[in-house]
Symmetry: C2
Subunit: 209 residues, 2 copies
């Protein structure tokens, strides 16, 4: 098994935090996305989607998508459960993981990739080039701020995002809040639930993964 | 349990197809999105996210997000498995489900919601209004066509998208291909794998759900 990783990118960080929470170690290869190593022929041959993270299995299967990688590892190593235990817990973890990703992560990525020179013609990751759309910068920031409002409400009266148990939903939402700082979207002073939860997240050893 | 549904919308259709494949029936309420029933006070009180599908549990918990609803039902009714059986199968189902959704479904939705008068100021679903961005129409169509290329390659040598077993990845990808027709993106004549697989999907009783 081999993990394609890049230490400065937020999606690979989700996998690293997941591994740290599970106490797992996997051999990894750094693909320096800032130096364009995802476009190098040797990597493209192994990973035509040209995205990181990706997990190469020993039989040659390549698993892309952060949550697909984590679910694979969860099936192999179910303890401690990070996707919930009961059917209802599992549903709530999935719901919040998706909200954090679709409404939070993608909004921040939209603001970032459509504004920064480094992503000119690379407004979306993957094998195809897309031009930047300037109108997405402000919309992305507005959506990210909207996600923080929903996150604040979602954390009310709960220790963790899905309830009284830690899960991948916390990992994704935490990475989103950190990532939002890249486009200067920050939790507001009155968002006390986020502040409390963020401090609890930062205190976990996995936060430095 | 009560499912908020709308028969003309593609995401609720994914849930209905899932239910049909599992042989499950759940009481449902139609929320007519074209008549703006998602904005009605009675629905907003039950579902502040104002999106469909949503599953209300008997204890008052509301599960939004198509895949969270399906995973909840899968945990309660594991047979036949529609999320894969082995760890590797589960990972491949998750990977392809996500690709179909993030690269396919969202691209089509982007093209549709940014072009049609009905979605003026509603370029994204949910409780907040966002103006249409005309540049997303052509980008959405281009991305959708790119997804069809990847789908064609992904189906090569396989009966179903994740392998020799039917899964939710097939449901999502099938709904994407149908939905793409709404923005006049169709599989090309040479995309024979899609044609073969699409015919096999259409022959399943769930296709009419």
């Amino acid at each position: 098994m081999k993990l394609f990783d890049f230490e400065l990118a937020p999606n690979p960080r989700r996998v690293r935090m997941y591994l740290a929470e599970k106490g797992l170690q996997i051999p990894s290869v750094q693909i320096n996305l800032r130096q364009g190593e995802q476009f190098h022929v040797a990597f493209k041959d192994e990973n035509p989607s040209m995205i990181v993270p990706a997990l190469a299995l020993d039989d040659g299967t390549l698993i892309t998508e952060t949550m697909a990688i984590c679910r694979y590892l969860e099936a192999l190593h179910p303890t401690p459960p990070l996707f919930g235990s009961t059917p209802k817990e599992q549903a709530i973890v999935e719901m919040w993981s998706r909200r954090a990703e679709l409404e939070g992560f993608m909004a921040v990525a939209e603001a970032l990739r459509n504004s920064v020179e480094r992503f000119k013609d690379r407004a979306l990751p993957g094998p195809r080039n897309y031009a930047q759309i300037p109108a997405l910068v402000e919309r992305g920031k507005a959506r990210a701020a909207g996600f923080l409002e929903d996150l604040e409400a979602g954390l009310a009266g709960k220790t963790w995002l899905a309830g009284e148990f830690f899960s991948v939903a916390d990992i994704t939402a935490y990475v989103v809040v950190e990532f939002a700082g890249w486009v200067e979207v920050q939790p507001a002073d009155h968002q006390q639930n986020i502040e409390r939860w963020r401090a609890a997240m930062a205190a976990r050893p996995s936060a430095s993964a």
